[in-house]
């Protein structure tokens, strides 16, 4: 494919490989992402999509290959450093702290901007109070882009929220630190079509506020992929088998074979 180069790639992945013992979960994957791009990552169950996210974010150590973010090598860094470099994510099975409030969960995502000094946290309580007030305002503004009723439940525990609001909180947690790249791992899981549609609308709307934000979306609902993505990458057995616009990919015979089985 020869897409016109609108901007330079911010993320370049070269022959990334992940092995679990004898199993090759990800096999020499090449992948690149430009600023502002919305890429869909699809493939059957077990094809290595989530493994790719985990290898990118430092949860799994890659066996080979390299990952370059804005000309900095970030291969195999710890999750903390990947976050600092500007890549955040959501999880397939929500990983929110359900006993904590919406605000607390957002602040976990805002870690990079929080004052971690002992001085502020234990002694200079007035300064801490001021920081908290600013962050409450910031959280409210972000949540309102997604759902106004949710913004008024800032102090409720996440466990009391319906599924769609939990997804919203998780997306907001990943967005509040203003990352360069957002990785969404199957945000439609456990939600109805309408809810997924609403979430994607919110996401597209809030993307307007964050120019340059690139998004990679793992999704099984092809309707969603077709609607929101600029480009698709298809994985099967840890390898890339196709890449291109949704139309091109959907018509590809190898992709059909991977999803429906060989004739």
């Amino acid at each position: 494919m020869s897409a016109p180069i609108r901007s330079v790639a911010i993320l370049t992945v070269e022959s990334l490989t992940v092995r679990f013992g004898g199993l090759v979960a990800l096999n020499a994957l090449d992948f690149d992402l430009r600023a502002g791009e919305f890429v869909g990552l699809i493939g059957p169950n077990g094809s290595g999509k989530t493994t790719f996210f985990n290898a990118l974010t430092g949860i799994y150590a890659p066996a080979a290959g390299s990952v370059t973010l804005s000309e900095t090598d970030i291969t195999g860094l710890r999750p903390q450093r990947i976050y600092d470099a500007g890549i955040t994510r959501t999880f397939q099975r929500l990983r929110l702290a359900s006993t904590l409030s919406v605000f607390d969960n957002l602040m976990i995502g805002n870690h990079r901007n929080l004052d971690q000094s002992l001085m502020t946290n234990i002694f200079a309580r007035r300064r801490l109070h001021q920081q908290i007030m600013e962050d409450i305002e910031k959280s409210r503004v972000l949540l309102e882009q997604f759902s106004a009723p949710l913004a008024s439940r800032l102090f409720d525990p996440v466990s009391q929220l319906p599924m769609i609001d939990r997804r919203r909180v998780e997306v907001c947690r990943a967005l509040i630190s203003k990352p360069k790249i957002l990785l969404l791992d199957e945000p439609s899981a456990g939600m109805t079509h309408e809810e997924t549609r609403a979430l994607m609308d919110d996401l597209l709307a809030s993307r307007e506020q964050m120019p340059g934000l690139a998004i990679v979306l793992i999704e099984h609902e092809m309707g969603v992929i077709e609607r929101v993505t600029d480009r698709c990458v298809v994985l099967n057995y840890g390898q890339k088998i196709a890449e291109g616009s949704y139309r091109d990919v959907a018509d590809d015979s190898r992709v059909r074979a991977a999803y429906l089985g060989e004739d």
């Binding site: 974010t57 430092g58 949860i59 710890r78 999750p79 903390q80 990947i82 976050y83 600092d84 955040t88 994510r89 999880f91 990983r95 929110l96 702290a97 359900s98 006993t99 904590l100 409030s101 607390d104 602040m107 976990i108 995502g109 870690h111 990079r112 929080l114 004052d115 971690q116 002992l118 502020t120 946290n121 234990i122 309580r125 801490l128 109070h129 908290i132 409450i136 800032l154 102090f155 525990p157 947690r173 630190s177």
Partner: protein, 373 residues
């Protein structure tokens, strides 16, 4: 009002001698807390308390001081009260470790013991002022705790618990064979001297009678517990407290958002051990004598059961729980021998019927009027 009734209760608890009265009181305490929680009074009291957090601390402090003043002549009651405050301090340390960061520590009494032995050695052989000795004891406990950090960071859950159990048992065995530290006979510890005033002298008030020297220790222990409470509460209501809670609930998610998991685990573990060490140092000076037999694995279990009974992660729950666990066996001689068994049953009952403890932890909040804007 709640503080006043609590003070009256503590007073009765320590003052009464008859065993049946004690039983009635203990059952009464549990029943009161339970029904108060059931009918929402507790929520109101806690809400009011957090609304006026400064006043609450002050009122409670004054109530505790009043209890000490009223018991001024009673050696044994004051000794118990001081012990309760010291246990509260240790358990506040465990609250940071277990309640906040989720690190199980079954060696609480070992860090208490490290503090006690450090104080014994330093006060017997060096002219360091005793206030400094106590602080050093806390630091030494924190420092020795760092030996455990590496294995603790590599293990999770049950395995981490085993590491601390092993350490607790090793510590006791080490004390018994160490001749320098007195072996099984233990060490004598001089009484505490603060600013040239010896705490081991009874104070005569002329016609009002004499004040037991334990009253002085009870005040010191009270100050310690109050300081620890403020520290732990402030930690909870801060970004650091949020880091710890995030790590407890989901380490992977925490790491994915930049939280340095090892750093904050080390922080929580060390803060907890320092509190235990400071309390241990004070205990050594108060009791005047320490031996390995005082630092058993069973005592570590008691500490953990106090935290569970009070409500894991709620610093406020530690006080009634410590009161029950420390004073009850002393008052009820019959159960003395069965106390471990009894507390085991108690912990099981708690985990079965009220897993969050007598005073369950509330939602995180950062300041008084939180969530009502």
């Amino acid at each position: 009002m709640a503080a006043a009734s609590a003070a009256v209760f503590v007073l009765l608890f320590l003052y009464l001698e008859e065993e049946w009265e004690i039983v009635v009181l203990a059952v009464g305490l549990i029943a009161t807390l339970y029904s108060a929680a059931r009918f929402g009074f507790l929520g109101q009291i806690e809400a009011a308390a957090s609304e006026h957090s400064r006043t609450t601390i002050l009122v409670n402090f004054v109530a505790a001081a009043l209890v000490i003043a009223l018991l001024r002549g009673e050696h044994f009651a004051l000794l118990m009260l001081a012990t309760v405050f010291l246990y509260v301090t240790v358990c506040l340390g465990l609250t940071v470790q277990f309640g906040y960061a989720g690190i199980v520590n079954f060696a609480g009494i070992a860090f208490f013991g490290i503090g006690a032995y450090t104080t014994a050695v330093l006060s017997a052989h060096t002219p360091v002022p005793h206030l400094v000795v106590i602080i050093i004891s806390g630091l030494v406990a924190g420092l020795i705790g760092s030996v455990l950090i590496l294995p603790l960071l590599r293990t999770r859950g049950h395995y981490a618990a085993l590491v601390t159990i092993a350490f607790g048992i090793l510590f006791r065995t080490f004390l018994e064979v160490s001749d320098i530290l007195g072996g099984p006979q233990g060490l004598k510890v001089p009484g505490m001297q603060l600013f040239g005033w010896s705490l081991n002298d009874n104070i005569s008030l002329g016609p009002l009678g004499t004040v037991s020297f334990y009253a002085a220790y009870a005040v010191v222990a009270l100050l310690l517990a109050a300081g620890a409470y403020i520290l732990v509460k402030r930690l909870e209501r801060s970004w650091i407290g949020l880091n710890l809670d995030a790590i407890r609930t989901d380490e992977t998610a925490a790491a994915s958002f930049g939280i340095d998991v090892p750093r904050w685990k080390i922080f929580a573990f060390t803060v907890g051990n320092c509190l235990a060490g400071v309390a241990g140092g004070t205990y050594a000076m108060m009791s005047g004598f320490i031996a390995p037999a005082s630092f058993n694995f069973g005592d570590s279990l008691l500490l953990v059961s106090i935290v569970l009974l009070g409500g894991s992660g709620n610093p406020l729950g530690v006080l009634p729980a410590a009161l029950l666990v420390v004073v009850l066996p002393e008052k009820l001689q019959i159960i003395q021998e069965y106390r471990l068994l009894l507390f085991a049953v108690l912990v099981i009952l708690i985990l079965r019927f009220r897993p969050e403890g007598l005073l369950p932890r509330k939602m995180r909040e950062y300041y008084a009027s939180w969530g009502r804007t």
